[in-house]
């Protein structure tokens, strides 16, 4: 890790000093244990702030999109000959690079507007898992030592195996090494337990309909519609989300449970073939809503119907925005006959 961090800082410093990028989006130390914070570095001398560790939980691709688009907006009234571009450097692990690929495929910005510093990834720590293992006691300090994480809480110290607190999406990740990069730091990360990727979805699919529905409604009851999930998601970049449109208003703003469900169902379906299972939405949700179960089902469908994994390769177009003669369409014309 230290080695990766050292290289990372050197590369970032060089990119900024050589004016290859205007800003580097990375992670820096937070003020609380188990936390790192997205940071935005413009001064080469600040590159030393960058960290790379098991607490880097968020997918940073969202910020790349925001920065480039905000800059473009600021250029709208500028004369064509005076227009400038903003080039963003980003610290990107596997899932982040897949999100960047999706942005590029969806023509959100040009390849030369982003400089990708690829980092190998061994998974991030899910804060909720740690909190559960220490019975919700306040965590005062946490440090990773080898394959353990040592936690100091208000009622004593505890060592927890790292694998017990790694986020679910990371445990079975196929792409823990970047799929695309301009600079790579560190050595390739060892493969994860990829064969069990769909275990939890398979289990859920086999439950009776009523049980699945009641699980869905129970989870959605927790949602306070803060939209943190949507706002952190790199694939959710609509300028005005349907939930905030008022003419017409697609969903109400009150506390009607169906409004929450409609928001979630619509958002999830917009993720079909576009969710990279980065786990950011789950990690940032303040209420602990299990979004992954449902998103993973859509991912599995995409894989089984179209052999597609979101953002896997820039040359592989997304199934829902392309048509091929061989595409399955039986489920459209004879929905009853397919499961």
């Amino acid at each position: 890790m230290e080695n990766v961090e050292k290289q990372l800082r050197e590369e970032a410093k060089r990119l900024l000093a050589d004016k290859k990028v205007d800003v580097i989006v990375g992670y820096e130390e937070g003020t609380l244990p188990l936390q790192t914070v997205p940071c935005f570095i413009t001064n080469p001398d600040d590159a030393g702030k960058l960290v790379w560790n098991s607490f880097c939980s968020q997918n940073l691709a969202k910020y790349v999109h925001d920065i480039i688009h905000q800059h473009r907006e600021s250029q709208v009234r500028v004369k064509p000959e005076d227009k400038t571009r903003k080039v963003v450097g980003v610290v990107a692990r596997g899932c982040t690079t897949r999100s960047l690929v999706i942005h590029l495929q969806e023509r959100q910005y040009d390849r030369d507007e982003v400089v990708i510093i690829g980092v190998p990834c061994t998974g991030f720590v899910a804060k909720r898992k740690v909190s559960t293992l220490v019975d919700g006691k306040e965590i005062l300090e946490a440090a990773v030592n080898g394959d353990k994480i040592s936690v100091r809480t208000t009622s004593g110290d505890k060592d927890v195996p790292l694998k017990d607190v790694i986020a679910d999406n990371c445990l079975n990740c196929h792409f823990n090494n970047p799929v695309i990069s301009d600079i790579m730091v560190g050595n390739e990360a060892p493969p994860r337990d990829v064969d069990r990727e769909y275990d939890s979805v398979n289990k859920f699919e086999n439950l009776p309909l009523e049980e699945r529905w009641s699980y869905f409604t129970k989870e959605m009851e927790k949602c306070i519609r803060c939209y943190a999930c949507r706002n952190t998601c790199p694939s959710c970049y609509c300028k005005i989300c349907f939930v905030e449109q008022s003419q017409p208003a697609w969903v109400g703003t009150g506390d009607d449970p169906t409004d929450v469900q409609v928001f979630q169902i619509m958002r999830m379906f917009h993720m079909a073939g576009r969710c990279v299972d980065c786990g950011s939405c789950v990690e940032v949700c303040p209420m602990g809503v299990d979004l992954r179960n449902f998103l993973k089902k859509l991912d599995k469908d995409g894989f089984e119907l179209f052999a597609h994994k979101a953002g896997e390769s820039i040359d592989k177009p997304a199934p829902l925005s392309t048509f091929e003669m061989g595409d399955k369409e039986k489920f459209i014309f004879e929905p009853e006959s397919s499961s």
Partner: protein, 341 residues
């Protein structure tokens, strides 16, 4: 002020007895959160807990509230209210910071110039039993920096202090004293109990480890509406509003109409300065177009405008926004960074 002693093992019985006579909300465990819920038969109120994830402000200022209903008929529009008003209730187990937040909310919703009948009705009919913090529950607590205290009775009608084997119960307000009548016979508190409380109070205050320069930054805020510092806070913000939704003192709201066929209702919902729709006008114009401006509003509102208007900081130091911000934007750090400018 009446003072009584309650044996530890008798407390839950007393609270349960109250819940037979009126609505009692108490902290209970719900999956991995602690939330205020209606106490029903057989439920144990938690007396030994840190704090709830949500602030209790929703009891007086609900997240969604119907203000009126209307119906289009052949004779015109018919208006109606929302039933008979709030029931009598008890809020048990409120932390001192949250109890104090009600005093701050009163300044907004129950003042000379504006009286909010929806808020006032509920507030008047509720008796608040707070649980003093004999240990600050979190390392992020900073009540003492913003005018509060871990053992403060501000905003409470009854204060319970854990003395080890028993609670000292202080009935601070007339509302609290009325509740005492419903609690049955309790032995009077002696001087020793009060001396112990004094001691605990000092210890608890010393155990607070987070300190912010709450009042000290006011002169800087007065002068620096435009300053490069404002460019450094908001960049990672997800604009999720978690900080404002969980905050006991945030109180911005929005009013909208929901119409189905010929029936409609006017609802008031929480708003948040973190949202891009905040202060967006019907014309399409928004005086605050960026997250930078919105974050400045959040800080200014708490540490300057509220102080200008009501001579109090609109933050009680509960630390919720610090603990639950998904990207760890820490108001303690921001305030302290400003104090160093």
């Amino acid at each position: 002020m009446e003072k009584r002693l309650i044996k530890k093992d008798a407390l839950s019985g007393i609270i349960n007895k109250l819940s037979e006579q009126m609505l009692v909300y108490a902290p209970v465990k719900d999956e991995d959160n602690v939330l205020f819920k209606v106490l029903e038969k057989g439920m144990e109120p938690l007396a030994d807990y840190s704090n709830t994830r949500n602030a209790p402000k929703n009891f007086f200022f609900p997240k969604t509230e119907t203000m009126m209903r209307y119906m289009r008929t052949e004779r015109g529009i018919e208006l109606s209210g929302e039933g008979e008003g709030a029931p009598e209730m008890v809020l048990f187990g409120v932390r001192p910071c949250d109890a104090r937040s009600f005093i701050l909310l009163d300044k907004v919703f129950d003042q000379e110039k504006y009286k909010d009948p929806y808020y006032i009705d509920k507030r008047e009919k509720t008796t608040i039993i707070s649980l003093a913090c004999v240990h600050p529950p979190y390392s992020t607590c900073f009540c003492t920096s913003v005018g509060g205290h871990p053992m403060s009775s501000e905003g409470a009608d009854v204060v319970l202090t854990d003395l080890g084997d028993k609670y000292l119960a202080e009935f601070v307000t007339p509302k609290g004293e009325k509740l005492l009548e419903k609690m049955g016979d309790l032995s009077k508190a002696d001087d020793a109990a009060e001396a112990t409380k004094e001691e605990l109070s000092k210890k608890s205050e010393e155990a607070i480890t987070s300190h912010v320069a709450g009042r000290e930054i006011k002169p800087w805020l007065d002068e620096n509406f435009e300053h490069p510092f404002w460019d450094t806070i908001h960049q990672s913000c997800l604009a999720c509003g978690t900080c404002t939704y969980l905050c006991p003192t945030c109180h911005c709201f929005d009013i909208s109409d929901e119409v189905k066929g010929s029936d409609g209702k006017r609802i008031r919902t929480w708003d948040s300065c973190m949202y891009w729709l905040f202060t967006k006008e019907t014309s399409g114009h928004n005086p605050r177009t960026s997250q930078k401006q919105r974050w400045r509003q959040r800080l200014m509102h708490k540490f300057k405008y509220f102080v200008d208007n009501f001579d109090a900081i609109a933050c009680v130091g509960c630390g919720r926004c610090v603990m639950y911000c998904p990207v760890n934007i820490d108001i303690r750090k921001i305030v302290n960074d400003i104090s160093k400018l």
